[in-house]
């Protein structure tokens, strides 16, 4: 495979890199809040897991999003994950 073809297959783009490294920051925070709000545990444990899972969640998201086929897909995944986390948090906090 030529160098050009290989680079095309990798599809590196600034937008996907930004999605993986920067866009994942607020989404990992939302996921942390969702865990703290929705986990069926007592408050202290939920709070602990939510607070300390944000950094590992960011790392996991960044590693996954770099593998997205395009920047579009990376941002779409972020939007879906963020919406899911925000919705789950809202429902869980309303129910408590």
């Amino acid at each position: 495979m030529s160098h050009v073809a290989r680079r095309r297959q990798l599809n590196h783009s600034t937008s996907r890199t930004l999605a993986a490294l920067v866009g994942s920051l607020p989404v990992s925070l939302l996921l942390g809040i969702a865990l703290a709000a929705a986990l069926p545990l007592r408050l202290e444990l939920r709070y602990l897991i939510g607070a300390y899972s944000v950094v590992p969640l960011w790392a996991a998201l960044a590693c996954c999003l770099f593998l997205a086929r395009s920047a579009w897909r990376a941002w779409l995944w972020l939007l879906l994950a963020g919406a899911l986390a925000a919705g789950l948090s809202w429902l869980a906090l309303r129910a408590r």
């Binding site: 809040i33 444990l45 709070y47 607070a51 950094v55 590693c63 770099f66």
Partner: protein, 510 residues
Amino acid sequence: MKLRPRTFQIYWDAHAWVGVITALLLHVVFFMGAFALFQRELNHWAHAGDAGAGQLRATPLALQPLLERWDREEPLAGKRRVAFEPERSGLIAYWDARGQRQLYRYSPVSGRLERARSELGSFLYDMHYLGPLPKGVYVAGVAALGLLFALLTGLFLHWKDLARQWFQFRSQRVTRTWASDLHKVLGVFGLPYQLMYAWTGAVLSLSFATVQPALTEALFHGDAQTARAARGDFSDLPDPTGKQTGQLPDLDAALARARQELPGLEPSWISIEHVGDEHSSVNIWGSVPGVPFGTANVVLSAADNALIGLTPATGGPFARFEAWFFGLHYASFAGYGVKLLYALLALAGCAVIVSGNLVWLERRDRARAQPGQRLLERLTAGWCAGLVLATSALFVANRALRQALPISTRVEQIVFWVVWALGIAWAWRERAWQSAGHQLLVAGAAFASAGLLDLLGGGGQDPVRLGVDAALLVLWVACVASGARLSRAGAGRAQRKKPVGALPALGGAE
């Protein structure tokens, strides 16, 4: 686990780019981290004690007379905080007021608190999280996230042959091979340590400003006091009213009360909050023997030592998790053995970072034909070796200025920044790695000079100073060994780069 070719290549590129972008910042964080572990010992060394103080108690038996004398000499009412820190190397104290902080040390000879001559240890500690730079702590946090990402992608890349990468170091091969081996060997050896530091460092630098407020808002409707209680922290300090009574607390009675509330408490930090205010309080932190990473604190009213709050060492899961999490970061367990191991791993982290940049350069542009790669090479050499040189200059400046200046903190720091800038400039004066080698040789000589000057000045009689002097001499050996190797490598590289004259034509070669 073997990655698919596309995944491997993406992680390879991401690892390289994130690594090279964060490398120089992480080098500062790791290098200064080795010194930050010994902040108190370095502050003690830099202050250099009193002659003949070795035979006297390093900490006074009672704090109250000391506090009252201090207040007579320099009125403390109105200060946001006045704190005492009893430690093995002596008692230190400081006040905080309107963004200013002043450090003092107890002098066993005069029996009073004297302004600290130097804050060398505190400066190196602050540099560990880029504190002296504007918003430096957040920059350090972002670098810690970069480190975490680089570590994970590096782990995925080498997972299939991790055991081999652990031990394979071919020092006689070409630069690209030995640099790559060094990067991987030290990276794999230090992986658990670096992962722990990346996670804890990111939390320390970023979480308190971002994650914690967001969770407090979402879970506790912005009620910080309830959030603190959920974390098992019951040390809520009362807000000042602004009405000054001017009354100082009875610190010795407060310590006795704290020990009554928490039997076995060994106080390590005693502060008076909002000194002289009618809501002034005394906050006593300490360790509790027998509990791993066991810290506890008591908050008392400054007026009458009434109990305001108490956080036991054996708290709930949140408090225990944080005690371990931050205890691991600060190496607050198992004494000097672990601190030395941490320091060694921190310096190995620096080698991982520099060798990573070298691998980048050797893979992409071995001849350094592109201006960008030449800039990266010189910047890496000047920045990294220059930092070592600047740190050594800081130590020498401290000892050299001892007779000339009663307080040398500011001048020492100016020396540090100027020498670092000169070190970076040096990399443009000659071949990059050769300049780095020469800088390390000079740094070695400076570390040795500082250690020897202190030994000649009576450092051998004080175990803490003796320990620092021994460490400085070890740094001398390490700098000379690595400096000599880099200088030789740089010279050898220059030889190879010399243009070769036209070869005699070989029959049929054209």
